[in-house]
């Protein structure tokens, strides 16, 4: 299902509200719901679907509307170490944008970013709301290996590489908190519609949080968002 092709909080709100309706209408053991930006994809792996009938049901449920979304949503505060050891593209970004590293860090940590989608890799968040001043093109040639936890910039997006992978974003820091762990009760704590705000940490705190994250005692900083 598609909404107008715009990156807008109001559209995401509508999709999340609609998902709360669908949760009461369809058998979630058969369906997976994948929201992203302006779309909601319903995927059924198990049973055959009468497409035309299901389509008209979906539209009818949408038309019924929903009371304020009951889904709990959170603002997650995530630490980032902007040391040049991690922020391997910081100097280049600084030159290209004509900003001091300190200004880049201030701008990057000033915003609450909205999670418009999760995909590409387990736990990879598409974060919207980057300040215009930090808009920068992807690197000309992608790297074959970007370290786990790398925090990058590309166009008007920022995000964290949840695992080592190839990638073309400009890396300005590293987040020591694992974004996905198959052994947790909730393998990925963030959901589409949540918000993320970064805060800068020193190397020593980074090392501590990384170890806490690995052994599973890192305490996540979250606050409920009231719509």
């Amino acid at each position: 299902m598609e909404w107008p092709a715009q990156v807008e909080e109001a559209i995401l709100e509508d999709i999340i509200g609609y998902i709360s309706v669908l949760n009461t209408k369809i058998d979630l053991s058969h369906w997976e719901l994948v929201p992203a930006y302006n779309s909601l994809t319903l995927i059924n792996h198990k049973t055959a679907v009468d497409f035309d009938r299901f389509r008209s049901d979906l539209l009818a449920w949408y038309a019924q509307g929903y009371s304020v979304a009951k889904t709990k949503r959170y603002l997650w505060r995530l630490p980032v170490c902007y040391d040049l050891d991690f922020g391997i593209d910081m100097e280049e970004v600084s030159q290209n944008l004509g900003l001091e590293a300190k200004d880049i860090i201030d701008l990057h940590t000033s915003q609450k970013y909205t999670v418009y989608g999760i995909g590409f890799l387990p736990g990879f968040m598409y974060l919207g709301g980057l300040p215009k001043k930090l808009e920068i093109k992807r690197r000309e040639s992608p790297r074959l290996k970007v370290a786990k936890g790398s925090v990058g910039l590309a166009a008007l997006q920022t995000g964290i590489y949840p695992q080592e992978s190839p990638g073309g974003w400009n890396i300005i820091g590293n987040c020591p908190v694992p974004m996905f762990n198959p052994n947790w009760d909730t393998p990925c704590f963030v959901s589409v519609g949540d918000q993320v705000q970064f805060y800068a940490i020193e190397r020593a705190a980074y090392e501590l949080y990384r170890i806490e994250g690995e052994v599973g005692i890192y305490k996540l900083k979250k606050t409920p968002i009231h719509a």
């Binding site: 598609e2 092709a5 990156v7 997976e32 719901l33 994948v34 929201p35 992203a36 930006y37 302006n38 779309s39 994809t41 995927i43 792996h45 418009y116 989608g117 999760i118 995909g119 590409f120 890799l121 387990p122 736990g123 990879f124 598409y126 949840p162 695992q163 996905f180 198959p182 393998p187 990925c188 959901s191 589409v192």
Partner: protein
């Protein structure tokens, strides 16, 4: 325990896949050619989700240290049990100390080895399918040991099945993807009922094709993708996502393969031909 004496090119453990976490970016994974895999499990009278070994191109050499029953099928590889050739889609009894060896690939690309009651690698998020780093391993390696049940007593209802070779099929039945309408007449004229060749870039994540369509400028906001989604890059390259493919993507999704078409494509390798056919 099954011991991997030689790992060969690329083998993994796969079941029917990992479901329920698409909205967290976790691909479905699972057997690339689910048809051949299901026939192997059927003959062994296994549960549908029993885990098999998916063997790609050059197979391993494996030693069994407990009795069981095995069956294999899919790509045509010369398989020997203690140096004697054995047949696909047939039940073979295994004794302690038996050595199973895979020889030259004759046809197709992926073969499935099943044991009675399936391989017992660790289940991660509901599935034994290898997908690194969710699972500890991305593929089997020399010296690795894989658990299975010891079974010396099994009278199969069927001892052999005649299974058609998917490697001979080239027609991929497709339906229209969400961005099908971006295709121009010029692109549509060459998309269907014409041969395309598999490019060098092909694996469990995606298959690329050698022939391009004309370039385009349409872009979409990142949206969901799934196994069998056919993407068209701005330069006109055609990418078909497979079982380990990413769960979201920003390229227009022009077509969607049927499940059968995914199974057929799973048996293709570099240079093989396929034809898209409208459903």
């Amino acid at each position: 325990m099954l011991k991997v004496l030689k790992s060969g090119f690329f083998s993994t453990i796969q079941d029917t896949g990992r479901y329920g976490l698409l909205n967290k970016g976790v691909p479905v994974s699972g057997q690339m050619d689910a048809y051949s895999a299901s026939k192997v499990n059927q003959l062994l009278e296994n549960q549908e989700d029993a885990a098999l070994m998916e063997i790609t191109m050059t197979g391993p050499t494996l030693a069994f240290d407990e009795p069981t029953f095995i069956c294999f099928g899919g790509a045509d590889m010369s398989v020997t049990l203690n140096n004697e050739p054995i047949e696909a889609f047939k039940i073979h009894a295994i004794q302690k100390g038996d050595i199973l060896s895979y020889g030259r690939l004759q046809k197709g690309f992926r073969s499935y080895l099943g044991v009675k009651d399936g391989f017992r690698t660790k289940r991660v998020l509901g599935s034994r399918s290898f997908y690194f780093p969710l699972t500890e391993k991305s593929h089997i390696t020399d010296g690795m040991e894989i658990e299975y049940e010891t079974i010396s007593d099994f009278t199969p209802k069927l001892t052999a099945l005649k299974v058609g070779a998917l490697a001979d099929e080239t027609l991929l039945t497709v339906s229209h993807g969400p961005e099908f309408e971006i295709l121009t007449h010029e692109q549509l004229d060459v998309l269907f009922d014409k041969e395309y060749s598999i490019a060098k870039e092909y694996n469990r994540m995606a298959y690329q094709l050698q022939e391009n369509l004309s370039p385009h400028q349409s872009s979409i906001l990142t949206s969901a993708t799934m196994p069998g989604t056919v993407q068209l890059t701005p330069s006109g390259k055609i990418i078909i996502l497979m079982r380990d493919g990413q769960t979201t993507g920003g390229y227009p999704r022009i077509l969607q393969l049927t499940k059968d078409a995914i199974n057929i494509l799973a048996q293709k390798k570099y240079g093989d031909k396929i034809i898209f056919k409208n459903s």
